[in-house]
Symmetry: C2
Subunit: 403 residues, 2 copies
């Protein structure tokens, strides 16, 4: 069996943890498996390097930042290879040049294009554990790139796809994917299986275990993921195409407190208004979510949407600059003390009662809904931030997701 | 003009020093020159990385050590490129893969084989300062290598040769090459010019400004070197093929205290004895210097030689193990409290009086000579270590080398 195992920065933050990871890999190896290990930079090393760069040049080019940052993973893989070797297992570390890991040229946010599997296969065939730098790639000019947020997960999934791996294990500091954040809903239950689509909804809703990009890539190439803890040997959660068995009605509740709500009121009811509004925001790199356009009332209409809290000031600035002129709106309102609570479940698509049941639970808990948005397998509501935790608990209870 | 400028680790140890170096490079650039900068790892970073490796695995493979160490120079070049950019000059950093810098496969002690100048020329033609990692290379398998001691100097000279540079400046913390170590002989004078051969003798005699390998390569490819200070703008010392002007009789006095003397006494006087002796030592990687074989007396003979002080125990161990059996010697003696003092000068070859004058100076100073060795342009004597400094001063005076 060929397994790809990915460990994040906290899992390799010091000597002790490096050896913990090494021992897990050795166990797999001694069971006769071919083992590929993908690592991030140690602990906070990426932040340390970014601070060094900022100190030298706050406007450092992304090309040079990537040149600097890629030293982080290279340090991790070299040390891990030494640790494996000291445990008596031959190992070899490879960076993005050595693999090679071809990406687009977008420094800081590159996309993987192609992975050469030749060197890796050669090393595996020689019964070595292959330790590979996550997060980094090389563009067509021979420059280092980095993959942006969730980059190492993406590297692991891409390697699993390129190598036709039998398993791709993503190690984190939690036991797997839960029906809700256990810090908010104490009785949350670990899921044994979840579909790619459900995971995608949960990932984008702030469940935070896996990054969207890696799940999308896993879905595209049919790579079965296992999310499991680096601290214990519990089974974790398998992320895969939904099976033929009955779909779960609701698989989890996600809470996202990093939300601000905008209302742009009194807009003319004519074609192009929504386009202009979101065009201005997109021009300033403001990502919007949960767009809602009201029905016309008295010749005008309102548009509401959400952004992340960090982007709220930028969004407000854009709206105020264009509000009176090109948008011709009457009022711009922003609420920063809001949160989004969502239920996700592949079974929802054929069960119309889910939304109603969720709203009932919130009503029973005395929580007012500010805005609603849905997808085929998700229902999200925007509520006051102070009610986020009780709302998650109430919804979790209503769908009997507890242990 | 195309200039290659090499700065060591202390010159880029912190933000302030990085900007000092950057400013020097910008000055050259603004004078219309094409500038290539070669850097070592920052300050003690290589030692820090070696300590990390030792902590994980004291027997780490050289392949993985090189993988780890090469992050050091990559960090330097990325930060330098950012500093240059912040001074308004476009710059690009390149590592050994990006250049590419082809070497033999000997990890930790690789030799440069070939440098691709294409990428560098492209960047120079686009009026960028090109900042290149010293010390590192890539072998035929696509693995990182390092060049061993003096590696970054060698990188700089090799780049100057490959790029047909007009100058190759090696920046150090002294003003250039001196007639003697100014800490020992206070009136020592800075040399304006010295030949490759003289520099080679001085380098191997512990003058420590330039490593042998880089001088050998400079000689081979006719690269004119300038050794100068990174702390001021004084002219430095030019190292080049000797000119047609009259050769200097003696250009300098070198002192090397890192010496231990061995005497292997009572060896049979028959073929193969010397071979066996040095073969055993070579097998244990003990480098020997200043070999002296005595004339036969009473059917046996003695052989003396020197090694560095660090190797003395290893050499003694080897000799004791083989002394009674294969070597059949009567006695092995070792003196660790010795030093080598040498005079170097290209004019010596046609002036037979140099050795006599040196011995006279030592005799006048009451210093006993333990052993003598000479080359065409050098006379070295082994003396008690405690007399090393007065010996250097006496010889320096005798040849009127002072300022």
């Amino acid at each position: 069996m060929l397994v790809v195992k990915k460990f994040g920065g906290t899992s390799v933050a010091n000597k002790e943890r490096i050896f913990n990871v090494a021992k897990r890999c050795v166990e797999d190896y001694k069971n006769g498996n071919q083992v590929v290990v993908v690592l991030s930079a140690m602990g906070k090393q990426t932040d340390v390097l970014l601070d060094m760069a900022r100190d030298i040049n706050p406007k450092a080019s992304k090309r040079e930042l990537d040149m600097l940052l890629t030293t982080g993973e290279q340090t991790s893989v070299a040390l891990m290879s030494m640790a494996l070797d000291s445990l008596g297992v031959p190992a070899v570390s490879l960076n993005a040049f050595q693999v090679a890991m071809h990406t687009t040229s977008d420094n800081g946010n590159a996309r993987l294009k192609k992975i050469d599997a030749k060197r890796i296969k050669f090393e595996l065939d020689n019964r070595r554990i292959v330790v590979i730098t996550g997060f980094q790639g090389v563009n067509r000019y021979g420059d280092y790139t980095t993959l942006g947020r969730g980059g190492s997960d993406t590297t692991a999934v891409a390697l699993a796809a390129a190598l036709h791996a039998d398993a791709c294990e993503i190690f984190t500091d939690v036991d797997g994917v839960f029906t809700a954040d256990p810090r908010i809903v104490p009785c949350a239950r670990k899921l044994n299986v979840i579909s790619y689509d459900e995971m995608l909804e949960l990932a984008s809703l702030g469940a935070g275990v896996l990054h969207n990009r890696s799940v999308e890539m896993a879905k595209k190439y049919g790579v079965q993921l296992v999310v499991r803890s680096s601290l214990n040997t519990s089974e974790g959660t398998v992320v895969k195409e939904e099976s033929n068995m009955e779909k779960m009605l609701v698989s989890g509740v996600a809470t996202d407190k990093n939300v601000a709500q905008f209302s742009v009121e009194g807009l003319e009811n004519k074609p192009g208004v929504a386009f202009k509004l979101f065009h201005h925001l997109a021009n300033h790199n403001v990502n919007v979510d949960m767009i809602l356009q009201s029905v016309e009332h008295g010749g005008t209409q309102d548009i509401s949407f959400t952004v992340t809290k960090e982007m709220a000031d930028e969004a407000l600035d854009v709206l105020e600059r264009h509000g009176k002129t090109s948008l011709k709106c009457e009022k711009i309102a922003v609420a920063k003390d809001v949160a989004k609570v969502s239920v996700v479940g592949a079974g929802m698509v054929s069960n119309p009662g889910v939304a109603a049941k969720m709203f009932e639970a919130l009503y029973d808990a005395g929580i007012n809904i500010r805005q609603i948005s849905t997808s085929e397998i998700r229902v999200s509501v925007l509520i006051d931030e102070k009610y986020a935790d009780p709302a998650a608990q109430a919804v979790h209870d209503a769908f009997s997701l507890e242990d």
